[in-house]
Amino acid sequence: MNKTIKQLSALLSAGKASSVELCQDYLAHIQTQNATLNAFISVDNDKTLAEARAADALRTSGQAGLLTGVPIAHKDIFCAEGWLTTCGSKILSNFVSPYDAHVIEQFKAAGMPCLGKTNMDEFAMGSSNETSFYGPVRNPWDTTRVPGGSSGGSAACVAARMAPAATGTDTGGSIRQPAALCGITGLKPTYGIVSRYGMIAFASSLDQGGPMAQTAEDCGLLLNVMAGFDTRDSTCLERPKEDYTRSLNQPLAGLKIGLPREFFGPGLVGDTAKAVEEAISQLIKLGAETVEVGLPNSGLSVAAYYVLAPAEASSNLSRFDGVRYGYRTPEYGDLTDMYEKTRAEGFGSEVKRRIMIGAYVLSHGYYDAYYIQAQKLRRLIANDFTTAFQQCDVILSPTAPSTAFKLGEKTADPVEMYLSDIYTIAVNLAGLPGMSLPCGFDAQGLPIGMQLIGNYFDEARMLGVAHQYQLATDWHARAPQGI
């Protein structure tokens, strides 16, 4: 159960296990763990095992690829044909998708069986997985605490070894922050390299799918499957296919790591500060050099984000109107009454707050002061990174200001919750790749994550840095007790 997908792939190709056997083991583990952790919204043993049998048949006939037969869980934001696809919302609680997202097609083509659909904050809006219509996910390291969000189910299921890997999506930190809080590795790619087709939209200029797994090496293997040009996403970039694992074995000698002074200020304290500093020392020992860099406008990234993301969300979520799919209120008068009741009953309060912020900042008289001002700040924030990358190869920071917090601790104050993503949001605004990997534990035994930020399309180098760190440390290999 502790095996990486790299190790599972080796077992399968050596004939030491079949995909059916692996899937049966994981499904049995889900059966015992999920009642407590609530990491999955949908599990369907028959579907999973049918895909596993097909993968085994491919292997028998000599047509297996590297990951054929290795199972994976998918965040419930990805439409998967025949699977309930809820996005964590009541408004999609009856939606069985009639089609596959591009990401799902890619994993199917690779022969990787789907272990189930993972729980998430409603429409990916949240940092604790507490806004899900299906109830909160619990952190496998301490079930009184949150797993982070919005890809909290994906992070928790990998941490609890209910799946060897999972997909996630990241709009403001939704892969990296839960990866940090659950002690796993997660990567948000450069905007545009993974197709958003069939990935339910939150903020289209920021949303990006990515892999979550135990190791950086696994994330590279998974990104090789996920990334690819797709004409059905107009923002998907047409680029030559690349191997994201190609730099894993590159030594770190001469690597320049940028440390943004704004991310190492007074807000960074205690065990998180200590763990990140020790990780930096480790990387220096491996041959890297550090250089201080500035991201002077990053302090405004949360403010700009909470204009831009809700603005895009208010537009994207207007499609949920009770007409073509999903929930419709049982009693209504005219059309407007039907829309208003359907949306009032179908959306949770965090989603409604964000739709209302978006409607306001886009409304007549406020557009320039909020929306345009936020877009200008976005450029300043992106320019800061361009300047910083003239001095360094990769940027390092903590992923989150604290380790996993208690369930309910931050639900009363949306603003406090928003600040969980203070180190991750700027990366989405700029469209850069970023990842989180485990770098220690706090005094209570909760995992701490560090963030690496790469330049555009520099995933391979970033993964190489993470892999070299993981060869020298074992934080990523630790699993919660009793798992």
Partner: protein
């Protein structure tokens, strides 16, 4: 800036979300807190900065004007709340 209860009702109307009296008060206070966070933006001088709408400088791709999708109406309407003869049903809009 501070939103009044009337502002909240107007925004909810724009967003097609029904809110009742108690909710208006709760949203008013939550939204005002969030706008408190957002207001920090106004302190920055952004004169001469071009707005950035997107992470990549993209242009819209064009494709030949030919049919690319098969007709899957039945599959797509199977998940609709109410249909009849291949049409989506909604309350009467025009008298």
């Amino acid at each position: 800036m501070s939103l009044s209860p009337q502002d909240v009702e107007r925004i909810a109307k724009l967003a097609r979300i029904r809110v009742n009296g108690d909710e208006v008060m709760a949203y008013q206070s939550q939204l005002n807190n969030i706008f408190g966070l957002i207001e920090a933006m106004q302190a920055v001088d952004t004169a001469g900065i071009a707005p950035m709408s997107h992470a990549q400088d993209l242009f819209q791709r064009l494709r030949p004007d030919v049919v690319t999708e098969p007709n899957r109406r039945d599959a797509f309407q199977a998940v609709a709340p109410q249909t009849e003869n291949g049409l989506y049903l909604v309350p009467k809009v025009i008298e």
